[in-house]
């Protein structure tokens, strides 16, 4: 019973592969547009191990991680600061919401002027987008700290600083991780888009785009799957870290 439940997620995968195989075997779709699963995954495997795809994959990982890290380093302390005073947060809430709602891709030209064509622009736009998401979540996490818990710390004689570090900070951790997960997803999106269009010579985005230009369909699908696997793994990584550090969340 338990093992069969654990296998449930594979059902969807199996169905997709079956439909895909069928479609290519029966030539329902132009084979140039849709290579067989086997050909695609062989390309994925080979180009990850020996080809350029592996290098591009690592490039994108590095950019995504560094932009998320920069975002976190800036946004977490700032979020705590803003969240610890509701008045302070309310006074900048509109700005945060406004820029959170602005598509980060609209910022590319501005950042290009500031940082030129290169990694700095990609990373800083992604960091900008991710930082706002993280900031918003951290601030809300701090503001929504359980009132009883704060009072409890207060009656035990804890100073404001102590309450901030011993209670508010930990209370905000679950929400902070929500912010980090959303932030890293957004950073990946921005990085991949930037790699496609901002004069890039490497990275998964550039790889997808180039494969399409060269009509290398297996290569394109391989790069798409690589990007998907990357997004999924990053999310999973943060979930695992969260479960390790925020063991009390939701209990």
């Amino acid at each position: 019973m338990k093992t069969s439940n654990a296998l449930l997620p594979l059902v969807g995968v199996a169905i997709l592969l079956a439909v895909w195989s069928l479609a290519t075997a029966l030539k329902l779709v132009d084979p140039v547009l849709l290579p067989s699963p086997l050909a695609t995954f062989r390309t994925l495997w080979e180009s990850m191990l020996s080809g350029k795809l592996g290098v591009d994959f690592l490039k994108t990982v590095m950019r995504t991680i560094s932009s998320t890290a920069i975002a976190a380093v800036i946004a977490i302390p700032l979020g705590i600061l803003l969240g610890s005073s509701e008045k302070l947060y309310r006074s900048v809430e509109f700005l945060i919401d406004f820029f959170r709602s602005t598509p980060a891709s609209a910022m590319f030209p501005l950042f290009l002027v500031l940082f030129g064509v290169g990694d700095r622009t990609k990373i800083s736009v992604a960091a900008f987008g991710a930082a706002l998401v993280i900031l918003f979540n951290v601030a809300y996490g701090v503001m929504n700290a359980r009132k009883t818990r704060l009072l409890a710390a207060k009656v035990m004689g804890a100073s404001r600083i102590r309450v901030l570090f011993d209670v508010m900070l930990l209370e905000s951790l679950p929400q902070t991780f929500v912010g980090l997960r959303n932030g890293v997803s957004l950073a990946l999106v921005i990085i991949v888009v930037a790699e496609m269009f901002i004069g890039s010579t490497d990275g998964l985005g550039q790889r997808v785009f180039e494969a399409q230009q060269l009509f290398d369909m297996p290569g394109m699908y391989a790069a798409i799957f690589a990007a998907g696997a990357l997004g999924y793994s990053l999310n999973l990584l943060f979930l695992l870290i969260e479960r390790r550090f925020v063991h009390w969340a939701g209990r």
Partner: protein
Amino acid sequence: MTIPASIVASGPAGGFDESRRTAPHVTIRSLSKHYPDAVIYDRFDFDIPRGKLISVFGPNGCGKSTLINMIAGLVPADAGEVLFDGRPLSRVKFGYVFQNYREALFPWLPAFDNIAYPLKVMGVPRAQRRQRVERLVAHLGVKIDLSLYPYHLSGGQQQLVSIMRALIVEPEILFLDEPFSALDYEMTLFMRDQLQRVFMETKTTTVLVSHDLEEAVYLSDYVLLLSRHPAQVVEFVPYDAPRPRTDKTLSEPGFIATKAHCLKLFQREVHRG
């Protein structure tokens, strides 16, 4: 907290007991509190006796929580003063137990560290903290695995941890605001007896807000009956059955008479406004 053990279970009118009763622990003078839509307290005076367990009972929303919160400094009073043996709150060690133990404990700390936390705030070194928690656990005869996180404990165990956290500083006075009302009946009965044991062991002046008259009478030396707000003392009803009180106490004439008396006053109060 150095009150001679001799007053434990001393009879109703022991001479020594009488003299203690005349030296109140907490004096509340002219305490006033209003919210935009109601005056909750208007020049309220009261003395909390030393080393006794008193229950605060009254109609819904009359200001029971507000009273202990003002005494414990969680809610500022508009006017008036509260003194503990003549000293202000800031110089007093006290314990406070919240109704909502889930939200009052720190889920990121194991039960042991939750209990030790007030000592950490006070700057007691780690080794001593450990010692004092272990001593308290032994003293109370608590059988809980304190290495567990609160969310792995039952509701009653969590509340017991909260109570121990309040007791670890050896408070002069202990406040509890409806501590058992989130527990199921079986656990409530068990916890009442735990609290009674804690009280008998430590003789800490205790103020318990309760919405359950049976519980209020069963546990207390006095029941403080409050009126609708602006709250006044309707009566300060003594109940001096010897401790430990047990299930049998509940069917004794003294208990029944006291409870009936309180109920009559309470209903008069409820029907008044």
